[in-house]
Amino acid sequence: MAGVTASALNTEGRPAPSTANGPGPAGARGGVLAGLSRIRWGRGTVLLVAGLYFLVPIGTTLWFTVDNSPQGFSLDAYRQIFTVPGLWPALQLSLLLAAGTIVLVYLLLIPAVVAVRLGSPRLRTVVELTCTLPLVVPTIALTAGISDVLRWCNDNLAPTPFYATFLDAQNANFPVVLLLAYVVMALPLAFRTLDAGMRALDVRTLLEAAQNNGASRGRAIVTVILPNLRAAMLNTAFITLALVLGEFTVASILGYVPFAVWIVNGNSAGQGPVTVAVSIVSLLLTWLLLLVLSIGSERRGRAQAQH
């Protein structure tokens, strides 16, 4: 899912062309006001309808969380966020998994992306295909495959010394099984984001310059390439965080209780308002983080352009 979002997020960094061609052609033909108002009607309608469609559900959800029918307005749902049982362990598990996923994605993809940039076109095809493969297998199909593998291991590994490892991989405090699945799910998007970030750099020249100054290749990558890749790495981290925090399919079917599963379970267990409050807060917080990130990355880009 969400295979192309990376490239779109990267366009945030470049100055919006909208400012350039906003009033341009229409204004040039004279009758500025007439031209503008004709265009803006259509655009305004589209934005209004879209705004209503996207904001009304969020608004009514917020209303639902603060409207306590008989008494009226109350912030109880938000106060309970800090006391409701099970939320913090679930959130902790999700954040831990997110951190693990991000680290593993970096470790696997950054060397690969550098190699792809320096290597032959065939290497690029192989890596691109490898990272696109998970898109063809829907998450639920991957889950079905994983549960089949787990069943096989359970049936066949019991007498062997591998059984302890197998059980460790399913430890509810840190399920390695989930970590592996999440990394697979994050790969397509992470590869596109990092690859697009790398494309903006002249990797070969940077590396050769560093190596001519006596740095080893590994050191050159860590001290020269990675700092230049910061924006793409941050984007990858945030999208992966959003993916892991919201992930429900794999975890719920394999029987783990991270954040999203806790929300759904709690909701059906009658803790309605709290779980809805938690879910809407998490959504808005993630959005704010991404917005701050995109404004920050544009500032940095502008600052660099001035130097």
Partner: protein, 294 residues
């Protein structure tokens, strides 16, 4: 996706450097082989075999046959229908919204819409399901205020689910089409205007033909995304629309019939076949649009 110009220049690498470069890819390939390849192969194998604890498994076509009959077939067709319809609507709506955002003078609007789209498209379906239940569910605010239930409205129907799916598909379309819209050159529009074309003629003869591959690519992407969606429908307790993902989840967690898992694996294989067909259409389209929109 254009190939990087650097890789086209004749490389003057020493052999060991090239080898070192290739080694950097090995961990990634190994990881995908284990974490993705093993479950995928297990799924394909399980789809064609029986499962009896303690006995060796046997080859059978029974699972696949079962997965394409009765309620399972209804679910598969329901998923395809829902995905196709919601993707179609989202392509049109997403294009309109993206065009409105791209041509807007407010840089902040662009940032807000892009980041919000990134969250909605990636965050998954749980908050989404809650938001719609609070708004348009049986006791939802709009439902009760506007007495929508008296007009036959139900969120848990096919139409209701379509409306919910648009909430993450339109943002996905906005994200995927904005780079293409940015790629439409201003000169093309000016050239069309200088030749006396109206706005409609410009869109009909210049912009849309250039955009067509990315619109089709977007449709395929959205279809795949809607087809694979599970959390939204699962979190909307009481939804009665048959979906293949719900059926697989039920069969996997049922524990009643040990062979149900293998039917779930067969249904997963059906999904993979459909998703693969969709991707096979997607890749060449992506290449074609890249030719114009560099």
């Amino acid at each position: 996706m254009s190939t990087a110009p650097l890789s086209a220049t004749p490389a003057r690498r020493r052999p060991q450097r090239a080898a070192a470069g290739r080694f950097a890819v090995v961990p990634l390939l190994l990881f995908v082989a284990v974490a993705f390849g093993v479950p995928a192969l297990a799924m394909a194998y399980g789809a064609f075999t029986t499962y009896n604890p303690g006995k060796p498994s046997q080859y059978t076509m029974g699972n696949l046959t079962a997965s394409l009959h009765g309620g399972y077939l209804d679910a598969l067709l329901g998923s395809v229908k829902l995905s196709a319809l919601s993707a179609l609507i989202s392509v049109v709506a997403g294009l309109l919204v993206a065009q409105a955002v791209v041509t807007s003078r407010f840089a902040f609007l662009r940032k807000a819409v892009l980041s919000a789209s990134g969250v909605l498209a990636n965050f998954g379906g749980v908050p989404l399901a809650f938001a719609f239940m609070a708004t348009l569910g049986n006791a939802g605010m709009l439902t009760t205020e506007l007495h929508l239930d008296q007009h036959g409205w139900s969120l848990y129907s096919f139409n209701g689910l379509t409306l919910v799916y648009l909430y993450f598909l339109i943002p996905l379309m906005v994200l995927s089409v904005i780079p293409s819209l940015d790629g439409l050159r201003r000169q093309w529009r000016e050239a069309a205007q200088n030749n006396g074309a109206t706005g409609w003629q410009y869109w009909r003869h210049v912009a849309l033909p250039v955009l067509t591959p990315s619109l089709l690519g977007g449709f395929v992407l959205l279809f795949g995304s809607a087809f694979a969606a599970y959390a939204t429908a699962a979190a909307m307790v009481g939804a009665t629309v048959p979906l293949i993902t719900l059926q697989i989840a039920t069969a996997l967690s049922g524990n009643v019939d040990p062979n149900a898992t293998n039917i779930a694996l067969a249904m997963s294989l059906d999904m993979v076949v459909i998703a693969t067909l969709v991707m096979v259409i997607y890749i060449p389209l992506q290449r074609r649009s890249a030719r114009w929109l560099v």
